[in-house]
């Protein structure tokens, strides 16, 4: 049981992949790193585990600098995206592998393998080879191999993203309940924001520059994204992003969209922020759930006329994409009501929920001051 600190770690081959990236994970904490595919998440895990040597920076585990320690001397358990099960060994032998490596006596080994297998509901498969079990069972086996090892750090690389939706949800629930995972520092890597929001005690959003864009609690990240990348990465449907200009009319502040007629008044709560920033060009973000048909909205929302392009009824909710004065907006609606493309609706926009980003750097304005 130990705390993991990653200190300004760097790695590159033909170009920089991980650039002076730092974070720390406390004992018992479940830390999720979310980012697009191919952005360096797996490389980061490989650096922590010692499969790759960093070009600079340190990996500190339990207070000890383990940067120069080979992986087989670290007490790190990691699942691979491809599962990396030993095809010539049975499920039992696969799970037992870390125990054998550490010379745990046969009896104790068997007991712990069976215990973990029961926990993961694969105890009936112990004599099969990995080639003879399903994808979900393979992932459970891989997970079992890491759980049984009793490591200081858990690294999970996209453990459920290759499974079909039902098993994915089942395993996701299991991550919540696995005591072993909750006792040690865990780094969980995924490209799926909903996994991140659902599982993470804290989340780090990884951007294209090989750095963490923002680290924080799920709600924090969702409600106060540090920049446009984070805002765009978390949440489904994706946040509406509108390029706009600040205009003053009769003492009232307005935002006018760059393309088209769309115009919003600036809510009282945001006025000070925008004035402090002082630039005319601004990027505005608004999550789809804060745009609704007017009859679903509460009082005080700003009305807006729009023409519907697409409507997708999704059961629990509906997604409407509408054109409002040359700007395409995504809105969340009540699914009981049906809309037709081409239909004109009045939408209500909750102007107090706007996020404002610097038009050049994408940084959230409330971070700039």
């Amino acid at each position: 049981m130990a705390r993991l600190e990653v200190d300004e770690i760097c790695k590159g081959w033909d170009f920089p992949v991980i650039d002076e990236l730092s974070f720390s994970v406390d004992e018992g904490e479940f830390f999720v790193i979310v980012g697009a595919s191919g952005i360096g998440k797996t490389t980061l895990l490989r650096l922590i585990s010692g499969l790759e040597t960093p070009d600079a920076g340190r990996v500190i585990i339990g207070g000890a600098d383990q940067t120069k320690l080979p992986p087989y001397k670290r007490r790190i358990a990691m699942t691979f995206e491809s599962y990396a099960l030993y095809p010539h060994l049975s499920v039992h032998e696969n799970i037992a592998s870390p125990l054998r490596a550490r010379k745990v006596p046969a009896k104790e080994r068997d007991r712990r393998v069976k215990e973990v297998a029961r926990l993961l509901k694969i105890d009936h498969l112990l004599n099969r080879r990995p080639g003879e079990v399903s994808g979900g069972q393979k992932q459970r086996t891989a997970l079992g191999r890491t759980l049984v090892a009793d490591p200081e750090i858990f690294l999970l690389d996209e453990p459920i993203s290759h499974l079909d939706a039902k098993i994915r949800h089942e395993l996701r629930t299991q991550f919540h309940t696995l005591e072993d995972l909750r006792k040690v520092a865990t780094v969980y890597v995924t490209h799926d924001y909903s996994e991140a929001l659902s599982l993470g005690d804290r989340i780090g959003v990884m951007g294209a520059g090989g750095k963490l864009e923002q680290v924080g609690a799920p709600r924090d990240l969702f409600e106060r994204p540090a920049n446009l990348t984070v805002a765009e990465h978390l949440g489904q449907p994706t946040i509406n992003v509108i390029g706009a200009r600040l205009q003053s009319e009769d003492g009232t502040l307005f935002l006018r969209a760059d393309s088209g007629e769309l115009k919003f008044p600036v809510g009282k709560s945001n006025r000070a922020l925008l004035e402090r920033h002082g630039k005319e060009k601004i990027t505005v973000g608004l999550r789809p759930q804060f745009i609704k048909p007017i009859e679903e909205a509460e009082d005080g929302a700003e009305p807006l006329t729009a023409e519907i392009d697409v409507f997708e009824p999704l059961g629990a909710t509906g997604i409407m994409i509408a054109n409002a004065g040359g700007v395409r907006l995504t809105a969340l609606t009540n699914p009981e009501k049906h809309f037709e493309p081409g239909q004109t609706v009045t939408l209500a926009v909750d102007v107090d929920r706007f996020h404002f980003f610097d038009a050049d750097s994408g940084v959230n304005l409330d971070r700039l001051n």
Binding site: D14, F15, E20, G50, L51, E52, T53, A56, P71, Y72
Partner: protein
């Protein structure tokens, strides 16, 4: 390439511009070098050293006494001039071309035809396997058995082949298989019998691993069998056939033992190949210098061909994701 990418971008961080290859944690950097170093050292000793030795003596008037007494003199390229100017060598080159055409090339052609016939027209799996095993048997025999066996079979006076041909009425008189002008053909026949299975086996396996989906698509399109063969099978087997050809072609340059056992190059040097002369001059007649010149000439020709072949093979393997 990587270097230019790195240098041309001043925006890259300092640690990256100054970075050196990180020290691997799992296996120290000297380990792969040592692992590869052992076989490389062995090959240097048993291939490169002798080649240099041969090159050295190809420039000297070395014979067997001279070699032991250490008395041999530099004579420039005289040995090469002797070799290249000699009728014997020029004749042997013609023999080599004959052998390459009817040995190597014909083997690949026959092997390909047999492989595809076997795959397309023989439907029973057990029968296919049985035929395959039978056809491959000769390949498992050493050249000394093949040579002795065919010398036996082709014995002009009372050999089995002549007798069999007489019996079925194909010939009226015994064929003198080991006369001048015929003996090289006898060697080629024995070699074809010995090695046709290599291209056969390779092309057959290549055909087996072609994806059936392509053929289903062709069937849906209503393409005829012959068209499928010409437009799909043969183009897709191109690389595989080429590899079989490369293997047979390079083997042909090494080919010497059947000549030695069946005819000893005779009669009157009429079935000699360049490699056999190098062997004969060096080992039997101990004209070391001249044999060395032969060897180096053969070596040079092989080097050009092998380089071309390996380039092609590299491309094929890259395309398959093997290299």
């Amino acid at each position: 390439m990587n270097q230019t990418v790195r240098d041309s971008s001043p925006s890259q961080p300092a640690w990256f511009r100054n970075k050196r290859t990180a020290r691997p944690l799992i296996v120290a950097r000297w380990v792969p070098v040592a692992l590869v170093g052992l076989p490389v050292a062995v090959l240097l000793a048993i291939v490169i050293y002798p080649t240099i030795w041969m090159f050295y003596h190809s420039l000297r008037d070395t014979n067997i006494q001279g070699l032991f007494m250490g008395s041999h003199e530099y004579i420039g390229f005289q040995n090469y001039a002797t070799v290249i100017g000699s009728d014997r060598f020029q004749q042997s080159l013609i023999h080599l071309v004959q052998y390459l055409t009817f040995g190597a090339c014909l083997q690949v052609l026959i092997g390909t035809v047999l492989a595809l016939t076997l795959y397309e027209f023989v439907k029973s799996n057990a029968l296919r396997t049985a035929i395959l095993i039978i056809l491959v048997l000769p390949m498992m025999l050493p050249p000394s058995i093949v040579g002795v066996l065919w010398r036996f079979l082709l014995t002009p006076s009372n050999g089995a082949v002549n007798q069999a041909l007489l019996n079925i009425g194909l010939i009226k008189n015994h064929i003198e298989w080991f006369n001048a002008g015929v003996s090289l053909w006898s060697i080629i026949i024995a070699d074809i019998w010995n090695w046709v299975a290599l291209p056969l086996l390779i092309v057959y396996s290549g055909r087996v691993s072609l994806p059936p989906a392509v053929y289903e698509a062709a069937r849906v399109d209503g393409a005829g069998q012959w068209k499928v063969m010409r437009r799909i099978t043969l183009p897709m087997l191109k690389e595989v056939i080429a590899i079989a050809f490369i293997l047979r072609f390079t083997d042909a340059f090494k080919f010497v033992d059947l000549v030695y056992i069946m005819t000893s190059g005779g009669p009157a040097q009429s079935s000699e190949l360049p490699t056999y002369i190098a062997f004969q001059r060096g080992i039997r007649e101990f004209a070391i210098g001249e044999a060395a010149a032969y060897a180096i000439v053969i070596f040079a020709i092989s080097a050009v061909i092998i380089t071309l072949f390996l380039k092609y093979m590299k491309r094929v393997m890259k395309a398959q994701g093997l290299a």
